[in-house]
Amino acid sequence: MIDAAVIGVGQTKYDSKRRDVSVGGLVREAIDNAMKHANVDWDAIDAVILGKAPDMFEGIMMPELSLADAIGAVGKPVLRVHTAGSVGGSTSVIAATHVTSGNFDTVLTVTFEKQSESNATWALSPKYPYSPHINAGAGGYFAPYMREYIRRYNAPENIGWIVAAKDRQNALKNPYAHLQIPNIDEKMVADTPMLWEPLRYLESCPSSDGACALVISNEKLAKGRKAAWIKGMAVRSEGTLSAGRDEVNPQGGQDCASDIYKQAGILNPKDEIDCAEIYVPFSWYEPMWLENLHFCDLGEGWKLTENGTTALDGDLPINMSGGVLSSNPIGASGMIRFGEAALQVMHQANEYQVDGAKLAMGHAYGGASQFFAMWVVGNER
């Protein structure tokens, strides 16, 4: 049994430009909210774990050092995590393993991105030496895999529009969410311009400023409190340029999911897990990851999207908070999934609470789909 639980979740308002705060102010906003939620003081914090995506996104090298004051890390052990877009997830897992190590009772962990400080599409589209300059941002990288998924399972093109509309409808219930698009529907998504075929403008995530923080503690502090107990957690990676890789259904993601289900004693994830926050930066990744995470058989993911299973009132709600499609401070996006899963089982997700949620999953992936991080949290020890 894992002796670690989330006792505090803190987020910032996500927006395209949070010019009212510095990077330090942004992370502190999330931390203050998390510590207030956990009702703990700085004396209780034994270590601070910080995660974010490439330093190139803000042009600030090793920000965990210059942010030491803002994150309350002065005189405390501090660790930086970086696993590209999955970093918010792997940072959560690494913070939790600090607690389960027995060396730390309570750990504060924070992740952020302030995309307005630079331009992530530019940073992801460099000309590599000795190669033609054809990198076209994250959407350009992932679009061929979405196309292959559509081809492989003969999925109708409106599946992507359904996901994009559904997640933004959920976002309207979440005051932290960046995109708030009144009356968003499938047709509005379908009418937006094509960016990277088969992906349209509203099928793609925004660029956001924001931070997310968690307070994770062992039973000494968590017992008797409102807490999200970690039932299973894991990270996996796989060789990016390895022959035989299937980026539509990566082995690393399958193995990571199987591992956390085994830890949590889950035999049938679709029936036993009440809801999940999974990393869907581009619409088609909802059905792709439903299959990769063993929620259904191969080729069945798009049918779960189409028949409303993943809607807020469906049998397996996915991305109740609006997901990465509605708020994408890249480094924090994974931790937001992990924190939102915790809020669901703490029954504190307000307008987008899934009634009686007992088990919820948080998921993140990153890089060229070679990094995975996941956890399952429950309302009981």
């Binding site: 190669s131 076209a136 196309r147 960016l195 075929e197 022959a243």
Partner: protein, 165 residues
């Protein structure tokens, strides 16, 4: 002087670095400068890597044996980019494709041209269009783009390398 308050400004910064291609890529690029495409084969699982990185991530072993490949292959998948990418000189729309050379077990990204965009499909056979020999250098940019070469499409299930058995 303007009384208007500015809460931000854009400051260009730059970072110079030296890039070392490494032994495997250096060998590959020297051959490319002669108009040849030479991959490397894993001694354990037999996968052929192009461009080679000097090792097989499947098996964790060095790849030494060189395999000369033809400049023909097919489209494992692709996207059509419709938006300008900051810093990128190519004018959209353009096709960014995963090119799988015949005999190779991984794909690399390159452009496809000399085709109507609506005709591009997964599995379509393509061949390299090289720049004039006088312009060749140690770069894959020696290939301007790939173009359709005709012939039957590849069955996409063949793209998945399953090992030597």
């Amino acid at each position: 002087m303007s009384e208007e308050k500015k809460d931000h400004f854009i400051s260009p910064i730059s970072l110079d670095y030296n890039y070392t291609a490494g032994a495997a890529t250096t060998r590959f690029l020297k051959k490319v400068s002669e108009g040849k495409i030479v991959g490397q084969k894993c001694p354990k699982c037999t996968a052929v890597y192009v461009p080679p990185r000097g090792s097989c991530p499947r098996c964790g072993v060095a790849t030494e044996e060189e395999v000369e490949l033809v400049d023909k292959g097919s489209v494992e998948s692709f996207t059509i980019v419709h938006i300008p990418i900051p810093g990128n000189p190519i004018v959209p729309p353009y096709v960014c494709a995963m090119i799988r050379l015949e005999g190779a077990n991984i794909s690399f990204l390159h452009l496809i041209q000399e085709i109507d965009l609506k005709d591009i499909r997964i599995g379509m056979r393509v061949e390299a269009v090289w720049k004039d020999k006088s312009e060749w250098d140690t770069t894959l940019e020696n290939i301007k783009w790939f173009k359709p070469s005709g012939g039957d499409d590849i069955d996409p299930s063949e793209y998945r390398f399953k090992g030597p058995e």
